[in-house]
């Protein structure tokens, strides 16, 4: 997703990335899972919530591609819907946390007198593990997807703020920012038109890598029972539900776990490739 957003500006970056086989494969994979998640209702052969007590814990077969779970629900359908929920959770928290973090980072870089205060606040946020935010929010608002999204957003804010501040401080030192000030434009215009667009590369790279991390953390929170509640299909929660049958029917846990693994791996490889492609120093 991120790669295609960055592509029109720098056509060579996309081409650079596709030269790397791993990156090309992960890009295709990411596009496929995103499409699969969006079109889950059309792709799923069965209702993911329909239980069939006559067919519980079925191994993968021609009828049930990924088998069935302890209540006889089709795991293929649940995995598709689970991808939808998991990706939504990841994207929502990335966007909320990323936007707030980016605003903080730009303000800290542009108004140097706010810098110390804002970044120390970010350091404080950074000192809490994301799981702790999840526990706290689940305790306050009750477990659920919303709590997880808030927890992950909060955990993303300081990371994004640091990345953005670092990039923006460098750009602030360039002559075209001074030229913009000499023209006499207002701060908002300067930040939106001159500062922010020139900080996009590191933001995209970080966002892609962070999406993988957030999905992993969110699945962990769901696995612990703090996130999506049954019967909602969510990959972490599905893995958790299958753990009672680990020795009888391992596929119930393993399939959603492998799905999480592949999604996170794809975003990590993509993020790394994006960083290499956008960093001109690494260009050969």
């Amino acid at each position: 997703m991120s790669a295609t957003v960055a592509a029109p500006r720098r056509p060579s970056a996309l081409r650079m990335m596709l030269r790397d086989t791993g990156a090309a494969v992960s890009l295709v994979f990411v596009v496929l899972i995103v499409l699969a998640a969006i079109f889950a209702p059309f792709l799923a052969p069965k209702d993911p919530y329909e239980t069939d007590l006559m067919a519980i814990m079925q191994p993968p077969s021609a009828e049930y591609w990924f088998g069935t779970d302890g209540q006889g629900r089709d795991l293929f359908a649940r995995t598709l819907y689970g991808l939808q929920v998991t990706l939504f959770m990841g994207l929502a928290s990335l966007i909320v946390g990323g936007v707030i973090g980016a605003v903080v980072g730009f303000l800290a870089a542009y108004y140097r007198r706010l810098d110390g205060l804002l970044m120390r606040l970010m350091d404080i946020l950074l000192s809490f593990p994301a799981i702790l935010f999840g526990l706290a929010l689940a305790a306050i608002f009750g477990p659920g997807l919303t709590s997880v999204i808030f927890a992950l957003s909060i955990a993303t804010i300081p990371l994004m703020a640091r990345i953005v501040r670092g990039a923006a401080v460098v750009v602030m030192g360039l002559d075209y920012i001074e030229a913009a000030r000499a023209i006499g434009m207002k701060d908002a215009r300067l930040i939106l038109r001159h500062l922010a667009p020139n900080c996009l590369s590191p933001i995209f790279v970080f966002a892609t890598l962070r999406l993988g991390q957030v999905i992993l953390l969110g699945s962990a929170l769901s696995f612990l029972g703090l996130g999506a509640q049954p019967p909602v299909a969510e990959l972490g929660a599905m893995a958790s539900q299958g753990r009672n049958f680990l020795f009888i029917a391992p596929h119930i846990s393993v399939i959603p776990s492998v799905a999480i693994f592949l999604v996170v791996l794809a975003f990590n490889v993509l993020g790394d490739a994006l960083r290499d492609a956008l960093d001109p120093r690494l260009r050969i």
Partner: protein, 347 residues
């Protein structure tokens, strides 16, 4: 008639530990309409800081800057924006001075948008006219900065500065990042534009050949202060301050036999964090005496102002350097003149 620009005793001190770095420490000068004042000096002497103080791109630690008689140090943010329409800047590094993500046309139109000049159609027409003025073509407006060479980018920077029809343009080493043949084109372009629009230039440079070609008057800076100001020819023919002499003597000479008797400067530029007492230059001055170590000299001499205790008693400058600038510089000046003539012939 007031001066276009009157700078009175401006200072910029950066706090550093217990003391302060006195980047600019009591600089005064004036600039008339249509005039070019060159500010020369070695790296770190405060030239660029002075330029930015004059435009109030950084806040002053002291002193006053009057533009058309109006004290710009006291302007409100709204008034400051109006002032920015009258005073613009051209940068040294043509690779850092253009936003890489804006099309060239948008970069040039932006100052007009910010100041609400004209309708979108008028701004576009004016932008294309500006591109023509600086020797580019209207179709260049659709391109991004990375598609241009250094000299072309510098022309774009000039077009941006002229978009709001300023009276004063600060040129911060506008040609030092360009190679010599391109320098000639850009320097002549600046002169043409000055003649055409009656611009005043505050021209920062360390290259004396460029200064000799561009300037009407020259101010020499050393360690945050101006040590000598004079009409260009007076300064080159009869440099009065020992530092100015050293600067002129330091221009490389192709014939070692013609090297004069001016002793090259020893030592390094003292730290502006802890400048020497008395005359700032005394640590490196071959003529320094007791008084130089104690008392700050004051500018004397009216139109050819020099800040030196011994200005009147110094021996005349070595004959080899009388009115001399090096042959390479002479060749470059000839090149500039040639380019200028070719340009005039073409029109």
């Amino acid at each position: 008639m007031t001066h276009l620009l009157e700078v009175i005793d401006i200072a910029k001190h950066y706090p550093a530990g217990k003391g302060a770095v006195k980047a600019v420490d009591g600089v005064s000068f004036t600039l008339e309409r249509g005039e070019t004042l060159a500010l020369v000096g070695e790296s770190g002497c405060g030239k660029s800081t002075t330029a930015r103080l004059v435009l109030r791109l950084i806040e002053l630690s002291g002193g006053t800057v009057r533009f058309n008689g109006e004290d710009i140090t006291a302007l409100s943010p709204a008034e400051l924006r109006r002032f920015r329409r009258k005073a613009q800047i051209i940068f040294q590094d043509p690779y850092a001075s253009l936003n890489p993500r804006l099309r060239v046309g948008d970069t040039i139109m932006e100052p007009m948008e910010v100041h609400g000049i004209g309708t979108p159609a008028e701004r576009r027409a004016r932008m294309e006219e500006l591109l023509g003025l600086v020797g580019l073509a209207p179709y260049h407006a659709q391109r991004y900065p990375h598609e241009f060479s250094g000299g072309q980018r510098q022309r774009i920077g000039i077009a941006r500065a002229l978009a709001v029809q300023p009276e004063l343009v600060v040129c911060d080493e506008p040609v030092s990042a360009l190679d010599v043949s391109i320098q000639a084109q850009v320097v002549n372009l600046l002169k043409d534009l000055q003649a055409r629009f009656g611009l005043s230039f505050l021209f920062i440079a360390h290259d004396l050949a460029v200064v000799k070609h561009m300037a009407d008057r020259v101010a020499v800076m050393y360690l945050g202060r101006i040590v000598e100001v004079a009409e260009k020819n007076a300064l080159f023919d009869n440099p009065r301050h020992p530092y100015t002499r050293a600067l002129l003597a330091a221009i490389p000479h192709p014939d070692p036999g013609r090297r004069g008797h001016v002793t090259p400067l020893g030592g390094d530029l003292p730290s502006p964090l802890n400048p020497p007492p008395g005359c700032h230059f005394h640590t490196r001055c071959p003529f320094a005496t007791e008084i130089c170590r104690k008392d700050d000299p004051v500018p004397t001499g009216g139109a050819h102002s020099v800040t030196c205790h011994h200005a009147d008693t110094l021996p005349p400058m070595g004959a080899a350097y009388q009115g001399h600038i090096s042959e390479t510089a002479v060749r470059r000046l000839a090149l500039y003149a040639e380019a200028s003539a070719a340009r005039a012939g073409a029109e």
